[in-house]
């Protein structure tokens, strides 16, 4: 196997287009970008998530200047780094061979092996997430970004967190989480299930915010780690969560829906942090006259969590599913019909967060 050194003149001279396999091509391209960026003297910013420290080196163009805003509260200094990502904006000769043929159409394509993770996502001008898992080096490339899509600003680099799972042992999942004290709940379900609404109702009641569309899970006992301080609120909830709406930084329509893009850090009373997961909650709006909480089979909670996670964060499908299944073992699961009075939901969820 061709070795790609992370720095030095040999790797920068290598023509990545002559590599035999996609894995070597990816490793070579990452190495070349890494060399280029190292020589340019671009500073590295480090961010800590649990015990995992991610360095991000970005020559940020106008389009992605806000890329790290939603996790800059994780910024640390003088901390040993676990992995390094280079962020590239615009055309790049070293990465061009990694862009799939236009004949792949608008579908995503992924290669995930023990050696590399590489995902091409054509949405919003395209994004390539490529990680050399052996070296914990990666590149996130926006080849034609004129403006980042709203979901990318809200959940920046989330596929890179997926790619770096073997190093971090923290799995990004599609779910929301909130906490009271040391313990909290992980809220699972498909799009439109009511995860954000339930989480923000709790935040308005003084709970700690752990995450909305994406959180990291891992550890024993199972913990949910905050990734981003963003939340995305659908238009039909604007009047029901007026306090949360004051944290809006923009209104987006590029996902096909009107959404308030929130920076939860802007809420004066909101705390952001991690929590031990005491319960998995699946919202089920059944039109009940009051809040109905019922035990839920663990298999159903796993299905709710894994279906959206495996599609939103592709690659390593079997391993990711097994990790989630293992993580959920021993965690109580409930369905919650929030009923018509949103303000009553947090009090009803308190005993679940406490593990009772």
């Amino acid at each position: 196997m061709t070795q790609v050194t992370p720095a030095g003149p040999m790797s920068s001279r290598r023509d990545c287009g002559t590599q035999d396999g996609l894995t070597e091509l990816i490793q070579c391209a990452i190495g070349r970008v890494h060399d280029q960026q190292a020589r340019s003297g671009t500073p590295i910013a480090d961010f800590r998530f649990g015990d995992f420290v991610l360095g991000v080196r970005a020559q940020l163009g106008r389009a992605i200047a806000e890329l790290t805003t939603m996790f800059d509260h994780h910024r640390v200094r003088d901390t040993p780094r676990t992995a390094l990502l280079d962020i590239i904006d615009g055309p790049d000769a070293a990465l061009a061979p990694l862009q799939p043929s236009p004949r792949t159409g608008r579908d995503r394509v992924v290669l995930s092996t023990a050696a590399v993770y590489c995902l091409w996502d054509p949405e919003g001008g395209g994004k390539l997430t490529a990680v050399d898992r052996e070296k914990c080096l990666g590149v996130v490339w926006y080849p034609a970004a004129t403006a980042l899509p709203s979901w990318e600003k809200a959940r920046p680099l989330i596929h890179a967190f997926k790619a770096l799972f073997p190093a971090s042992r923290l799995m990004p999942v599609h779910g929301a989480a909130v906490a009271l004290g040391e313990h909290g709940i992980l809220i699972a379900g498909g799009g439109g299930a009511g995860k954000t609404t339930m989480a923000l109702a709790c935040v308005e009641a003084g709970w700690r915010y752990v995450g909305d569309d994406g959180v990291l899970i891992g550890g024993a006992p199972l913990r949910a780690f905050n990734l981003f301080r963003s939340a995305r609120l659908r238009e039909d909830m604007f009047t029901r969560l007026p306090h949360s709406l004051t944290a809006t930084y923009t209104i987006s329509t590029d996902s096909g829906e009107v959404k308030a893009e929130l920076d939860v850090g802007r809420l004066p009373s909101a705390a952001i942090g991690d929590a031990i997961v005491s319960a998995i909650v699946v919202p089920r709006r059944m039109g009940s006259p009051g809040i109905v909480i019922a035990p839920l089979r663990q298999s159903v909670a796993l299905r709710e969590l894994s279906a959206t996670t495996l599609v939103a964060l592709p690659g390593d499908t079997s391993e990711s599913y097994e990790f989630m299944a293992h993580a959920l073992r021993g965690v109580q699961c409930f369905s919650v019909d929030p009923g018509p009075v949103l303000g009553a939901v947090p009090a009803a969820l308190e005993r679940l967060a406490a593990g009772g």
Binding site: G21, L22, T23, P100, S101, R103, T104, G105, D107, R108, V109, V110, L111, S112, T113, C118, W120, G190, R297, Q298, S299, L302, R303, E304, S306, A307, T308, L310, V311, P314, T317, S318, Y321, E322, A325
Partner: protein, 136 residues
Amino acid sequence: MHFILADPNRISARAFDDEIVIANFDTGLYYSLMGSAAAVWTGLMAGISVAVIAETLGPYQSEDVAGAVASFAARLETEGLIKPSEPYATGVWEPKAPADGWRAPEFESFSDMQELLLLDPVHDASDAGWPYVVAP
């Protein structure tokens, strides 16, 4: 006739209490097997033949258990979850008597993930290169 998991890298089967949950990552379908279905599945995965499974479950029912078990195994194979195999070393299989009496084995399937994949397809690549995808 013996069966094994069709593809351990693409099919996951896990026990949750008295339920077997199978996920087929190629089709995006999940399956839930309870009662006699879970008993047949655990038997098949322990390397027990269809005939011995039917014979073992026989005392719990009064119907054509052999036909029901064979038919169920065929359906699992059609769904791409299992494939025929040569006889192999058997594991321990101690099926419980169904609490609510015998019922022909059935599975319930859920298309949560399949529906999402249809909206937002993703293709796995190999080291040979990115796949060629023909636009629909």
